[in-house]
Amino acid sequence: MPHHRITLSALVAASAALVPAVAATGIALPAAAAEYPSKPVTLVIPYRAGGSTETMGRIFSKALGKELGAKVIVRTRPGAGGAVGALEVSKKAPDGYTLLFAASVSLLWHPLTRSVGFGLDSFTYIGQITDYQMALIARKDAPFNTLKELVAHAKGKRLNYADQGPMQRAFVDFIGAKEGVKWTGIPTKGGGEMVPFLLGGKVDFAWSGGIHQRFGDKMKVLLSFNSGRLAASPDVPSIQELYGVSMPSQAVIVGPKGMDAAVVAKVESAIKKAVSDKAFLDLLSKKLRFPAKFVGHEALTAQIQEVVAGMKRVIAATRK
């Protein structure tokens, strides 16, 4: 019976994990990699159940499980903008049985600004599945249509904008510093609070994590904060084009650092196939309105390094 086989190999894998000395010598690892996955894989999602990333992760876990040939169990572990779940995964054995699905910002912003128990090098980046659509937006009737016009409009005034956290404020203020204008970030709790602030005229412009796509005829996009242009606004330049930095916009699957290359390759190819899974694509493009975008281990690791270099410049320029 297949049940017995699974239990037996699970025992083998468990005993390998219990004897880290053996694993460290590298004798046990190739065998484990060849058998991977021989037991269910846990996918930690560090956000509250019911949100868009969590929903995406849940649907994706089914497609991923199909491609990996193992059950993928989703575990939500919310807190501190994803840092609680990330910290937990960073401490697990790098055997491929504990993975994390998160927005890359959750893995980068905290370690760049304070001590959280994990660092920039605590994770193996395996694959990206989509891009968050982060933008600088304004009301449709605002007296400016591009970032350039906004900057000209802001000279000599004190404009307010809605941000959704210190990182977003750092990036918007970075633009202000480059252009020699001053504006004040008003902290709002997520897109749900930002929308009435913007539409109610309390602020002049705002940072948006993607919610503006639902308000097509009431808001306009001035700038993409992603490294590339946004799928829905191909005419609007990105912050990378104008200022050479970008926000971490990737939704990624990572494991603890030090994963075996063969296991990484297996998970990577499963992610690549799962990204084109029909049910997943359907939810992603039609309902959540995110573009599917696969980036593999090597390209993603390089991309993240570039983003981190930019973030360091932004932090240095805006630190008071």
């Binding site: 019911g50 501190a80 600004t113 004040t184 970030g185 902290p187 539409l199 309390k202 309902k287």
Partner: protein
């Protein structure tokens, strides 16, 4: 509008739909009974199941879950004095004394009938107001929210216990607790001691279940232990206790019902204020309006009516900003928005024009759900009442376990369980010292909002406090705050 509603009923009145509504309500009640698991958790857990339903069935099901979950929390509050969610805390104040007198069935009926009535009134308001509402909601900015929250604190200081000073101290302590965590503006650490789990502050449900439910259960266990067993009513005494609640008697409280439903709907329409605030404001209002305010907290059914009618009224009214603006009124509404999106409906200003048929079918489902809710709730009451007759030595230990499970499950955090245990001890200490622990919980709940809106106001107006003078709405609420505080102090 009437025509659209009739078409809506035509679409919604199917057997499958009714079954899904009934299933949603039943699951909601059952989950709501477990301390720590309210409608929010119920929704989060059940949303994935709806991926496989038609959009209307899915949303009707989730609306049922939301309604059931909100009223289910009243059951442990009445029977065991252990409110499962902060929003049911005020129900325990009068519900449990009634249950202790042996009137558990009547208390449960009061709770259920008030829930359903409050909910229905609020659903009707939703259907009528959803279109003209959008303009008013945008008027409420951070200045207005700051003033409303201060006003709420002033009102809440008087709701429980005899001393408004002790109430204010407890509220202030709660506000203090809410400042633990990362600073909302610049993200610096406040009393976090490098503990990542504390970055978001104390987890609300751990704090609420620990200090409200668990502290109460532990207190009862100590009592049993000291008294060496409990005094139980004899069978004869039981047979003499009134269990019936005629509709005439219930609707005799129409003033309280109407007032509470309006308070609940009003709070529900303003995004972010939440169910708990509505429940306590309404309880306070009923107490102030009563000719004998000292009877509150000793088993006055009006206390149950006020709380349950108001907290259920939030459920319907919350969908006003959700549908009119796409802005969720609370976490439960945010989850509903998530579910809407998954089923291809984008909430917001265009929802009524693009999906009008579905929305009116949803409204019809909500009205139908109220009827179903009444039936299912009514069937459950004799079953729940049995718990009231079971010796407490048998009931209480499993409730402790349920508190722990309920707090652990949604976030799978042992840290959260630890916080709950610590607050259980704190809750016991508050009880002994005569400080109202519910005031602390509310201070904690609203403290974060107060800080958020106050600091938003300050940043928006370059720290110029005279900005309040420019907002008539804020000025009215600030004046009312002063009035309420001065009156309370003069009486004390």
């Amino acid at each position: 509008m009437i025509e659209q509603l009739i078409v809506g009923f035509g679409n919604a009145l199917t057997v499958t739909n009714l079954l899904f509504i009934a299933a949603g309500i039943t699951l909601g009640i059952v989950i709501g009974v477990i301390p720590g698991l309210g409608s929010v958790t119920a929704l989060a857990v059940l949303i994935p199941i709806t991926f496989y339903m038609s959009p209307l069935a899915a949303i009707a099901f989730l609306v049922g879950v939301n309604k059931g979950g909100t009223s289910g929390g009243a059951i442990p509050a009445i029977l065991l004095n252990s409110p499962g969610t902060p929003e049911a805390a005020a129900t325990a104040l009068d519900g449990h004394p009634m249950a202790k007198r042996g009137e558990a069935q009547r208390a449960l009926k009061f709770a259920l009938f008030s829930s359903v009535t409050g909910d229905t009134i609020s659903d009707v308001l939703l259907i009528v107001l959803v279109v003209p509402f959008a303009a008013i909601a945008l008027e409420f900015g951070p200045l207005e929210y700051t003033a409303v929250l201060l006003f709420a604190f002033a009102l809440l200081s008087g709701i429980s216990g005899d001393s408004p000073i002790k109430g204010l101290i407890a509220i202030a302590f709660g506000v203090f607790l809410s400042t633990v965590g990362l600073d909302p503006v610049d993200g610096s650490q406040r009393m976090v001691f490098n503990e990542v789990e504390l970055y978001d502050g104390f987890p609300l449900f751990s704090l609420a279940v620990g200090s409200l439910a668990m502290a109460s259960v532990l207190g009862q266990i100590f009592e049993l232990w000291r008294a060496k067993g409990e005094k139980r009513l004899s069978v004869e005494e039981y047979s003499r206790i009134e269990t019936r609640l005629p509709a005439r008697e219930f609707f005799g409280h129409w003033k309280t019902i109407g007032r509470s439903a309006l308070i609940g709907s009003g709070v529900g329409m303003l995004p972010g204020l939440g169910v708990t605030l509505a429940a306590f404001l309404s309880y306070g209002a009923a107490r102030r309006a009563s000719k004998e305010p000292q009877s509150f907290g000793r088993g006055n059914p009006q206390g149950i009516i006020a709380t349950e009618a108001a907290n259920s009224a939030v459920v319907g009214a919350n969908l006003v900003p959700t549908i009119a603006l796409g802005i969720p009124g609370n976490i439960a509404a945010a989850l509903l928005i998530g579910a809407f999106i998954i089923h291809g409906i984008v909430p917001g200003p265009f929802m009524l024009t693009q999906h009008g048929e579905l929305i009116y079918a949803l409204f019809a489902s909500m009205l139908m759900a109220n009827g179903v809710h009444l039936m299912i709730g009514r069937i459950g009451i004799p079953l729940w009442a049995r718990i009231a007759r079971t010796p407490r030595a048998i009931i209480l230990p499993p409730v402790l376990v349920m508190c722990i499970v309920g707090v652990y499950l949604p976030t799978q955090s042992i840290f959260g369980v630890g916080v709950m245990l610590a607050f259980a001890c704190l809750g016991l200490a508050f009880q002994r010292l005569g400080f109202p622990i519910v005031c602390m919980v509310i201070g904690f709940l609203l403290g974060g909002m107060l800080e958020n809106s106050l600091r938003q106001s300050l940043r928006l107006h370059q720290s110029d406090l005279t900005a309040f003078l420019g907002s008539p709405i804020a000025l009215v609420f600030l004046a009312l705050t002063l009035f309420v505080l001065l009156r309370a102090l003069r009486r004390a």
